[in-house]
Symmetry: D2
Subunit: 287 residues, 4 copies
């Protein structure tokens, strides 16, 4: 008998009985738990859970499951998501001139590693800049930004995001700072890749800053975008060793590799509902 | 109101309702889940779970909890452990001439990082070899091994282990191969640190083998001891980068650092009931 | 005054006076040393050196430098290379169905990170398989291999390599085993990426082997191809952490990332004359 | 014929002929180069070199070599050191209550991994605090520090350092901030281990800061002490992965392991003359 898999992820104030209620509900609906994580943050008193389960008999839909779960969610005051793993999430990618993250995401998407639909690519540079990439079938929007057009262009981007019903907006080395309004509108569903090991080297030209300081490792950081620049909740970070031989250009080169893998991991985890917000921080149920 | 924390870890054939039954039981006994992991191995059809919970009202003991849980455990055919986190687990350390792992474990134990009681240290070398270590209060057994005395000495070691009621035996660079009988007797509760990145370089002098082969990383492996030498279930591995500059002695030196951290992690996870056997492999709910 | 940079790399039996003779020669020709490494292998008694230098006054050519250096090279019995850093090395890429390394190399080449000319791409699959890649301007050869045609196709590949004057042949997940003759013909200038942390998991399906063994880290290995399968001199290796959650498919996915960066590093170092053969091993003057 | 090994390390303004002059001098004195590194920093125009060589015929002393080299050193304006590898360098260790780095250094020294003489241990805590360590034969100085006694105690420490002829002072988690005068007096020969991945989390309680910010990796930094707190030239850094499970105490625990290995590497490289100052940065010829 075919089965369908679902993912449920939530957080709520901790109290006894949460797991019992949730797992009982899943059991009563024919759910078979395949993987689960629970975490109680003693500092915030918040409880986090992600569960992947299969409904062995396909008598339920994500709608009916959702409706049924709403009562429990309300009882415990949950911030929650329930998704069928057959649904393909949609993302919008924003990019500027540096296209290494774009190239990487396109490849991972093409071979099915990142299971998603690229609903749109938005760039402040014209399509010719990306001539070497196969963008066939992906809507491309050239939205150049000046001080005067920024508000207008952001509105267009938001419209693209909303029309597409995008689950995620990715700043794949998009070299424009989002306005506070835009950041707020995309809260919790916009991931940026920052080319430094935050909180070190905030601001402009982090690789040049790192070179000047003489650090022995450089890194990159994927985080949710907030109005507070470079301060959003961190999803993933990684580093590589450098040496005195490395010029700023070498750091940029080594950084490209770090940025690619950090960003793609953060996206994969977000799309798989593995990342839960915990105030200014994240809970990541990696695997 | 004071509370006491417990850890429950088990595996059993997968079927629907396990988490529901377990979490219901914990809830009914006043348990509050603090951290939990569940994993279903699709290959073996086995389900693994570890849960750390607090009994907010201290009306139960580990005995009553255990008795109460036995029915559930039997119903699902569980291989299980339930332990109060206030209990201090006991270990017996076997060591030979190289004492870097011993020194490391003693330090971590002394400062409370490894919460355990060192019930005994057994060595095939005399106590003078360890003169620089503070072994005050730790029973030390000098049991030299020859081909003739091996069976007899192993029997003594086993007696020490059983008398101490040791939860774990650690081969901290103990350079004697255990007999099949001894391995069987300690099954699932004896951890060895192997000075190679298994399955590469099995057998004698792995660092010299690694040097000869010209690998660019060396490693170490902590695994449960089985009769099948170097083939026991792997708990943890780690590596470090080496170069053409490194002589075999340099590899031995770098290896000491890897061995220390790999072994101490494996022990910490075992004592915290984070390691579950899955056939020839392990499930490690790291954190 | 414009200057041109050169790289000199050599090995020879160790004896006193090598560095003095070489650096004197460079000085007499107006050379200014920018970076250099020397290493004496006490086991083989062989001395290795790589030096990058600039001729501040452009009064010499790589030909005249080469001619001038030949006497020294002969005196010390050197195995040597001297190259202008303005020359663009040529590579031939062999690939099969898995194209992640190809995609990666194309990208790094396109943005100038890997300074090289892709003289040809050879595949045992037709060009359509690579439809998503921009191969414009790169000669593509579809050379399907069967038991009967193997010798013939290898001869064609060799012809392509020789006609192109290729400095390097890269097996970018080329799933055909080269014959001993082919391996011999490409000795020291053919790099393969092996999808395991050698010497562990030689042979077929290494990720499946790794999954079965339950290792906690997987890796990839770039090595020079020799007739002795999976035994060629190792240039670079790297690893990533895995867990019980990872299926063989997950290992394949994580492995792609390791393979890409290990192969691209090995190629970059080889093209930059940083890799010197030392019997069955390599000396890599990384930086 | 027995031979003695020496290490020569220097930096000077770059110009043609440095390596030729140095290697000629070594050759003329019967020196055989075993390992060497040269690096030209294009930004500062400074040239760095370290060479390990053997005098096969033991007809020279470090004094005569030094005298002979002085002319060359003066000609090129070198900042230089020449040392026999048979000489045992002396270090003074400063420590406070946290003794994990001290324990680690004592062990590495005891087994000969760190070839040095511990000329003195200075602590602002009494010797009883270190009762579990075998300090036999190592002069121990209890120098408690208050605001009033700081200047006086620093003077005593300096006296201890000078009387011992110490090559290096190690702040092995010494929780006192050195005065500007003390920092200046120990310039280039005092290494501190900072418990953060600088420049992130300067100041007090870096692990708590890291926990609050929600980073996914923590690190430690070994650097030369300067008057500019937390800004001295970085010698070595390393990191470990953490997760939402980790409390500040867990970070402290994981940090101990990073601190130990980062500090011991920095010390080993310094004692082996592998670290050269380059303004606010370092050149580290690792191996």
């Amino acid at each position: 008998m075919p089965s369908e898999e679902f993912t449920l992820a939530f957080s709520c104030p901790n109290r006894a009985g949460i797991v019992a209620a949730v797992s009982r509900h899943l059991y009563d609906n024919g759910g078979d738990i395949r993987e689960a994580h629970q975490f109680d943050d003693p500092e915030t008193g918040r409880f986090f859970m992600r569960v992947r389960f299969a409904i062995v008999e396909a008598v339920v839909t994500v709608q009916s499951l959702t409706a049924g779960f709403a009562t429990i969610a309300e009882r415990f005051g949950m911030d929650w998501r329930l998704a069928s793993r057959e649904a393909v999430p949609k993302i919008v990618i924003l990019v500027s001139r540096f296209d290494h993250c774009l190239a990487d995401l396109l490849y991972r998407w093409r071979i099915g590693e990142l299971r998603m639909e690229i609903a749109a690519i938005v760039s402040n540079h014209p399509r010719e800049v990306y001539a070497h990439h196969d963008l066939d079938g992906i809507p491309f929007h050239h939205l150049p930004v000046t001080k005067e057009t920024k508000a207008e262009q952001e509105a267009r981007i938001l419209a693209i995001v909303e029309e597409a019903g995008a689950d995620l907006v990715v700043l794949a080395r998009y070299m424009q700072i989002l306005s506070d309004e835009m950041s707020a509108a995309l809260s919790g569903r916009c991931i940026n890749i920052h080319h430094s090991f935050l909180p070190g080297f905030k601001g402009a030209k982090p690789y040049h800053q790192a070179h000047r300081r003489g650090v022995k490792l450089i890194g990159a950081t994927a985080h949710y975008v907030t109005a507070d620049l470079d301060e959003g909740p961190i999803i993933e970070q990684d580093v590589e060793r450098i040496s005195h031989h490395d010029s700023p250009d070498d750091l940029v080169r080594k950084g490209r590799d770090i940025e690619r893998r950090v960003l793609s991991r953060a996206i994969a985890w977000h799309l798989d509902n593995r990342v839960l917000l915990n105030g200014d921080k994240t809970v990541v149920f990696r695997d």
